[in-house]
Symmetry: C2
Subunit: 282 residues, 2 copies
């Protein structure tokens, strides 16, 4: 996951550990959000798959070693579900941020049921419908990248359009990987602008088309990294393409957003809202 | 993110909200981890980009409406950094799980500095080195998918090998998207087994090759979804390919793991540990 620019941050001289009986991705994603509230640089160590007492003791040794080396209490974000493992790790000399227990206890009270204390999401994931949908969506998005295929567009959840290098491919892959959304993408190219029409496979699916635009200056920068000095990358050509693409999207009534200063996560979240995919039942 | 199988879960008749001034991805990922500790089904609603007082009041209305409709307190996971926005949302009739303040306050005390209370990761992300690396890694992984290109393999962080449909492509994309890891992947195919050698571009990069294997039964299942009844998908052929691939990896001294019951997150985390990428400084 991304982060604000770090160049100017002073070092905290302190290690942060992400400890989990699974991948540690939740602990790490969440810990980053909290740590970005501080203008400090931290050394960060992921300790995933801590699922036996032996590994828990080994984690404690690593945390205590960091304390000894730095003279500062390490910060420990953990998502250990099993109480016996958590009990071992919590005896380390770190400052413990227990993500599960902090919130599970009040929820148990509110819901009037006990939590299951299983090892979270790491069991049988690959058998779940949701996981299979994600893998299927990744395959779909790859097969329908850059207008490669017109097949099965009727099963797409969303079709992204935009000029080359406006951010379509990373966004479709993110939507697929994170949310199981089947996303195709089509480039809008000078041929389309001359014809004054969308690529021929698209008009019948207009209700699920979503556009990405981008500031011509930024586009020129990105294209110059790929093909320095080319006409393709020139500011003049980028201005032409972006202008034509925006005119076409307006004419066709296609919703669009500017990807210029947005991360793929932000673009994806906005698209999910547009296609009304922000309500789910688990 | 994935979840344990839900078929058997009774409905909690209760709505969960993920409220954020950014994408809400952190609140949602984390909230899922906590909710999977309960054998209940929840209706889940993401409320991203709550970054004005007006939107905060609108969020409160939605939360209160859910209370009225269901007769149960909604559960609210929030990552609102600005205290004025958080102050509004916390007045709703939900049960509030405040991910930021819960952990930021003890951290302020421990570190002896105040937090910046910026809107987390959503500003300037796209200018950061880390973000650029992720986008570059996605492009690299796409260009080097399925042995498409031998160019620039020296700049790859990892090269995955394995039989067709063993999970290489989703894993390389996940490594790129989540961690900015440049991951190429090469299929091991019957031609390679007959020659008894790795694809010719690979031997010089052996130190960064990592293998995926898979149970032949599972492989046959996956391949049958794509090409039902084919020789390619037959159990006999899958047994042959998997056996040959494992023999080759053993002979060449290539580390490998079985992807059979592992999610792409678990495979990726294991590979990161192997390539010693689990320590980072931010």
């Amino acid at each position: 996951m991304s982060d604000t620019p770090q160049q100017a941050r002073p070092a905290a001289n302190r290690t942060v550990f992400f400890v989990s009986d699974g991948t540690g991705i939740t602990a790490e994603t969440f810990g980053h959000s909290v740590l970005t509230q501080f203008d400090l640089k931290f050394k960060q160590i992921r300790l995933p798959f801590i699922d036996t007492l032996e590994k828990a003791h080994e984690a404690v040794r690593k945390i205590n070693d960091a304390y000894t080396a730095e003279g500062n209490r390490p910060i420990v974000f953990s998502t250990l579900v099993k109480t016996d493992l958590a009990g071992v790790v919590f005896k380390s000399r770190g400052l413990h941020m227990d993500l599960i227990q902090t919130f599970v206890s009040p929820l148990e009270q509110e819901l009037g049921v006990k939590s299951t204390h299983t090892i979270g999401r790491s069991h049988n994931i690959t058998d779940s419908e949701e996981y299979k949908n994600r893998i299927e969506a990744i395959n779909f998005s790859l097969a329908h990248d850059d207008g490669q295929s017109n097949k099965n567009l009727s099963t797409a959840d969303v079709i992204l359009v935009g000029v080359s290098r406006s951010g379509k491919t990373p966004t479709t892959l993110y939507l697929a990987m994170q949310y199981g959304i089947k996303a195709a993408n089509y480039p809008l190219i000078p041929d389309d602008f001359e014809r004054g029409k969308l690529p021929s496979a698209l008009p019948e699916f207009k209700s699920k088309i979503f556009g990405l635009s981008i500031a011509p200056e930024r586009l020129s920068e990105i294209r110059n990294e790929r093909r320095p000095g080319s006409k393709y990358a020139s500011l003049e050509n980028c201005r032409y393409e972006v202008n034509e693409a925006e005119l076409m999207m307006k004419r066709e009534g296609i919703r669009w957003l500017s990807s210029t200063a947005k991360s793929i996560e932000e673009i994806s979240t906005t698209i999910l809202q547009e296609i009304k995919s922000d309500v789910r039942i688990y």
